[in-house]
């Protein structure tokens, strides 16, 4: 039987959703028939609008897809202006204020509290500046990710940016690929550091050499969601740069035809690769979807990968780095990927003043200002803004990533971003950084969808519930020792259902054990991998400390976790275009 979502997509999907969206925007939130809301919300995702959770009816999260995380000069200011004018909710966030921008783990931008009535104006403004929300969510080609410094990096072998751009231009808004069985995530890496994170995408291009020519090896079927993490599988295919779009079309068509449309939980291509094996994927691609002889995989650069590879070298793009043209790029740490809108304006100003105006987003929720001439570097580094968004952050600040969580997301089990901010600050104040550690990854996801990519962190945190003193409280499952690199590894789940207020104490105890028991300068990841399964459990215990967690109660059942009166019944939603409550029985 087709799923509800497939039925809804059969009726209306893809580009045509836009006219309906604009009609509803014109007529107002109330014009969506109640029994059609879920169908329309599913469709709106294709245009980057995700209805927020229960208690926040009529408000949307809006995602803007920036291929490869590149914001051309001027675009960051546009984003700030849109956030400033349209992304203000009924209540401020206690850490980030009234309006803010989120930089996501797939190099996109998320704004919240968007009202349907404002969508046409927002789209107009974005599109005037070559920005779009098209296909940022929904079952199609999502934002293409890659090395955030493509074209500006001394480690680069292929400039991945034109490749990503061509893929973007070919597959965005293309009706032939607009309704796939599920989301389709693609990564293009051109460097020898592995920072495209290809291993956790549905389709990955990674640099490889064949007959003395640089091109890409193709991997298929990675992804982290639903307690079923998979690394993209090597399907033994190499393509020259000019064939990247053709092979991408072929793999997408294969997915379109063979992906499971009867069961959304089995629909991602990772499950098809499980079922078929890499050999069959290759064979079917050759026989049914390509008209040239596929070449076998070339020599890759995976043994040089340093990005999130667990070593002592740089594992991200934070810091000052020289570009091949002699200018510099500077990666700034954005704790949990969220910046208040005043700071975003200031960042845009700095990028204009010292760089080319371009700003890039990384898959670690950070920002990069590019093209800064050497003689301006010191002035740039002295700017006030860099005190909060440091190019040389404390290791716990640097490594913290968090997803959206119960603040807005209906899948979430726990509060995430504000909690992770508090964790990072507490760890910085209270925990000794083990010798040699410059970058310690702690990723917090509110549920198993794994938007914060917990499985590839030193410490993985995933939302859960437990009982403490007889009461249900927010808790986290804790995993250890994940990361990417030549031999990527998903974290082992070690401590289950730790009450959220005992997690910082656990991390403190764990790092003390690591410091005591590590052999020489053994990295944390190696230390964890050396342990027997039983020993992992013995490494540390959760513990209450003076860390204070204001979000232990069931934040999912509040209308907004930070409202003074957070009771579901106190919600002003749904509201009209002016933000005034619409009474339910109108």
């Amino acid at each position: 039987m087709p799923t509800d979502v497939e039925r809804w997509k059969d009726e209306v999907y893809g580009n045509e959703i836009r006219e309906h969206l604009f009609r509803f925007a014109e007529e107002g939130w109330d014009a969506i028939p109640e029994e059609e809301e879920d169908a329309w919300f599913e469709r709106f995702k294709w245009w980057g609008l995700y209805h927020q959770r229960k208690g926040q009816e009529s408000y949307f999260m809006m995602r803007i897809g920036t291929p490869n995380g590149v914001l051309e000069p001027g675009q960051l200011r546009t984003v700030a202006e849109v956030a400033d004018e349209y992304a203000r909710g009924p209540v401020d966030n206690p850490e980030f204020g009234a309006a803010y921008c989120d930089w996501t783990t797939r190099q996109s931008i998320q704004l919240h509290w968007i009202k349907l009535e404002d969508v046409p104006d927002i789209f107009e403004k974005l599109e005037e500046n070559d920005l779009t929300t098209q296909q940022a969510c929904g079952d199609s080609w999502r934002n293409i990710v890659g090395c955030p410094v493509a074209g500006k990096d001394t480690h680069e072998h292929i400039d991945a940016w034109p490749v990503a751009e061509e893929l973007h231009e070919t597959f965005k808004g293309n009706d032939a690929y607009s309704n796939l069985p599920r989301k389709w995530k693609v990564s293009v890496t051109g460097c020898d550091q592995g920072c495209g994170q290809g291993d956790i995408n549905d389709l990955a291009f990674e640099p490889a050499e064949k007959h003395g020519e640089l091109g890409f090896n193709v991997r298929v079927g990675g992804g982290l969601s639903r307690k079923e993490p998979r690394l993209a599988r090597d399907v033994d295919i190499w393509v020259p740069e000019e064939k990247a779009t053709d092979i991408a079309a072929a793999v997408t068509e294969l997915f379109n035809d063979h992906g499971d449309r009867d069961n959304r939980y089995n629909a991602r291509i990772k499950f098809l690769v499980d079922e078929w094996g890499a050999d069959k994927v290759r064979r079917v691609l050759q026989e049914d979807y390509t008209d040239w002889d596929l070449e076998s995989a070339g020599d890759d650069l995976r043994d040089q990968y340093t990005y999130n590879a667990g070593g002592h070298e740089h594992g991200d793009h934070v810091g000052v780095h020289e570009q091949p043209d002699g200018n510099y790029y500077v990666g700034l740490n954005v704790l949990v990927g969220r910046q208040g809108v005043e700071d975003v304006y200031e960042l845009a100003d700095l990028a204009d003043e010292y760089g080319s105006g371009e700003v890039r987003l990384t898959q670690r929720q950070n920002v990069i200002v590019t093209d800064i001439p050497e003689e301006d570097l010191d002035d740039f580094l002295a700017a006030d803004l860099l005190e909060d968004y440091s190019p040389d952050p404390h290791p716990f600040m640097r490594g913290s990533i968090a997803c959206t969580g119960t603040e807005f997301c209906s899948l979430s089990i726990v509060e995430t971003k504000n909690r992770q901010v508090r964790y990072a600050r507490w760890l910085k104040e209270n925990v000794d950084v083990p010798d040699g550690v410059t970058d310690f990854h702690i990723h917090l996801s509110g549920c198993t969808a794994s938007c914060a990519q917990p499985q590839i962190a030193d410490i993985s945190l995933r939302g859960m519930k437990t009982r403490k003193d007889g009461e249900p409280v927010e808790a986290l499952d804790v995993g250890l020792g994940g990361g990417l690199g030549e031999n990527p590894h998903f974290a082992e789940w070690v401590e289950m259902r730790v009450p959220a207020d005992e997690v910082p104490g656990y991390i403190q105890n764990l790092l003390a054990t690591y410091e005591d028991e590590r052999q020489n300068d053994e990295t944390f990841r190696d230390f964890i991998q050396r342990q027997e399964e039983d020993a992992l459990q013995e490494l540390a215990d959760p513990e209450e400390t003076d860390y204070d967690d204001p979000y232990m109660h069931n934040t999912k059942m509040t209308w907004y976790p930070y409202a003074d009166d957070d009771d579901m019944d106190a919600s002003p939603a749904p509201t009209n275009g002016e933000g005034e409550p619409i009474s339910a029985d109108d």
């Binding site: 809301e37 959304r264 209906s410 899948l411 549920c447 198993t448 519930k465 009982r467």
Partner: protein, 95 residues
Amino acid sequence: MATRLRLLDDAAWVSVNDERAVGTSEVWPVAESFCSCSLAWLVVEAFVDVGADGRRVEARPHGHCLNCGESGTAPWLPVGKVTDDGFELVEGVRR
């Protein structure tokens, strides 16, 4: 009138007549049927199915017991009932 039932948000919510009625992350006390505990404390992680028996709405939650750690999919358990005034959630122990 037929009751419209549906799982939404990747099975994080049971929707009854186009309203999200019950979500994951709740802790349900469940009598006998889930694990060897006489009273299981079931953390609901996802819903596997939803159905109706007359006005009674039932679901099969997937999750684990906070007492013993057993995890799996529970048998059909009551979620609530459709009344003339709307949907009324079940409270207390589910059996």
